[in-house]
């Protein structure tokens, strides 16, 4: 049915710069050169004004928790050993909302009872392998 490996990013022309940057410890988002809108996921036209002059820009890495869930029974068997694990949606201070995970430090899962909606967080980077580094978020005070 499924392979045992976790589904990791398979970068395309539209996304490879994002994954390149995470390997260097930077979080990128898309910015519209005409109306200034910041958005994710990346796409070649601005979703607000449809401008084609869009480019990657560096995000501050600060944001707050919009939502979080705790997965006890994963849909994909590769995640069974990690369960229970959290997935959070983060509202970056520039505007975009992205999926991620709340950790205490890279590789260290947080006690999920400590996660709250609206909690301020900042990005940290967790190296999965030579290809993939995932942005995670940890609480800030």
């Amino acid at each position: 049915m499924f392979g045992i490996e976790k589904p990791m990013p398979n970068p395309t022309e539209d996304t490879e710069k994002y994954w390149e940057a995470t390997r260097k410890g930077e979080l990128l988002i898309m910015a519209c050169g005409d109306c200034g809108h910041r958005y994710m996921p990346p796409m070649p036209i601005c979703p607000v004004c449809w401008s084609e002059s869009v480019k990657w820009t560096k995000a501050s890495g600060r944001g707050k928790v919009y939502s979080f869930i705790v997965v006890h029974r994963p849909q994909h068997p590769a995640f069974f050993p990690d369960a229970p694990y959290n997935v959070a949606m983060i509202d970056l201070e520039e505007g975009p909302r992205i999926h991620s995970r709340i950790v205490t430090e890279p590789g260290q899962m947080i006690d999920p009872t400590l996660i709250k909606v609206d909690m301020p967080v900042e990005v940290v980077f967790e190296k999965i392998d030579s290809e993939t580094t995932l942005p995670m978020f940890r609480p800030t005070t």
Partner: protein
């Protein structure tokens, strides 16, 4: 010819369903289509259209609707595979009516077949590279985020979700065909295991192998068949990605337009609805829908379901067959079939007295993407008021 009151559901058919790994998706479809045609009593040679939901679990299936037509031996003037996820059957019923009104088909089968086990067919599991690596996979993680926001913004509680699940299970206990019939209480719901917190096992629909179909004809044709026609009086759709994704700023929740459109077309109000069929893949989707569709004001759905409003004798009897949560995941065709039974007056001990105006919705989307998309399709079904109303449809 306008849409309102021009067409009708003349036949319904559900295949055998449940945990049935031995039957193919096509097998379920053919059985359901045959049963829908037989239920209507129409001469099978008059069936000339097939609108079939894409079997999402199996991935891309080229020419799926045409294969159904070919296997049924139908000379099809119309065959199309459609995809709005779980909103497909309701959306396809609307499409069938448009083709019939355009004179391009006379009797159209709308159906789905679902086999959750691969049976040698590779499963296509697309995914967003921005959500999958974190293990955010499937409709359930999406709905868990929806639930988290309902709890945060509106003060909805897990016990309130339990009231929805327990009400539909009570209905299923009266449905001999339902996959799950054992009663449970709100306390039992609270003891059921976390699947994806804040959702418990009893917040999630069943996994069902099966198929369903309905036959759509003009109202004129339906009147000459053996059952009382169930009239398509109102219809609406809405598609977008704003459930948990910051899209365009909007005044009203996703799904509101789809409901408004149907009520406006039918010329009836929420108060006129005798029975409702709300797509219930997960309990928070019902909570969302009650408010988005205008049955409750924002923030009031929790208290509404606690009051017993969804029960057979409640303010808004809902999913009298048990829904996806307890009858089985019949892709919304189970909802339509029960709506038809109510208007025909054949729902047995689940019958709502004098049911004449019924609301039905389908919901679906691509939760595997970021942003997760959602589609709403709605129908107002009514009892045929007789030939006096014919003049109003031209």
């Amino acid at each position: 010819m306008t849409f309102k009151n021009s067409c009708a559901i003349a036949g319904i058919g559900l295949s055998k369903f449940g945990q049935r790994p031995g039957t193919s998706a096509m097998g379920f479809l053919l059985q359901a289509c045959k049963r829908a045609v037989e239920d209507s009593g129409i001469d099978r040679n008059l069936v000339d259209g097939c609108l079939i939901a894409m079997p999402a679990v199996m991935g891309e299936q080229h020419g799926w609707a045409t294969r159904v037509a070919a296997h049924l031996g139908i000379t099809a003037r119309l065959a199309s595979t459609m995809d709005m996820g779980g909103a497909t059957p309701i959306g396809a019923i609307q499409t069938a009516a448009l083709y019939i009104n355009a004179g391009m088909a006379k009797a159209v089968l709308v159906g789905f077949g679902m086999q959750n086990n691969p049976q040698g067919v590779p499963i296509a599991m697309m995914g967003s590279q921005f959500a999958f690596p974190y293990g955010d996979i499937g409709a359930i993680t999406f709905m868990a985020h929806v639930a988290r926001r309902q709890m945060h913004e509106l003060g909805v509680t897990s016990r309130q979700y339990g009231h929805i699940a327990a009400a539909f299970r009570e209905h299923a206990s009266r449905n001999p065909e339902a996959q799950k019939r054992e009663l449970f209480s709100v306390d039992d719901h609270q003891k059921s295991k976390w699947v994806v917190e804040p959702l418990r096992l009893f917040d999630c629909c069943l996994v069902t192998d099966g198929g369903g179909a309905v036959l759509v004809t003009s109202l004129e044709v339906a009147r000459d068949l053996k059952n009382k026609p169930v009239v398509l009086s109102g219809a609406g759709q809405e598609h977008g990605a704003e459930m948990i994704f910051p899209g365009k700023p909007r005044q009203r929740p996703p799904g509101a337009y789809a409901a408004d459109a149907a009520f406006e077309m039918a010329g009836v109000t929420r108060k006129d609805v005798d029975v409702a069929y709300i797509y219930d893949g997960f309990t928070p989707l019902v909570m969302h829908s009650l408010e988005a569709f205008g049955f409750c004001k924002r923030g009031e759905a929790g208290a509404f379901v606690e009051s017993g409003a969804l029960g057979l004798h409640g303010e808004l009897p809902t999913n009298t067959h048990g829904g996806l949560l307890s009858e089985g995941h019949m892709y919304g065709v189970g909802h339509v079939a029960e709506a038809v039974r109510q208007i025909r007056g054949t729902a047995g001990e689940r019958q709502i007295k004098d049911a004449e105006v019924v609301f039905v919705n389908g919901y679906g989307g691509a939760p595997h993407e970021a942003p997760p998309t959602c589609s709403f399709a709605t129908l107002i079904l009514t009892k045929d008021q007789g030939s006096l109303s014919r003049g109003t449809t031209s």
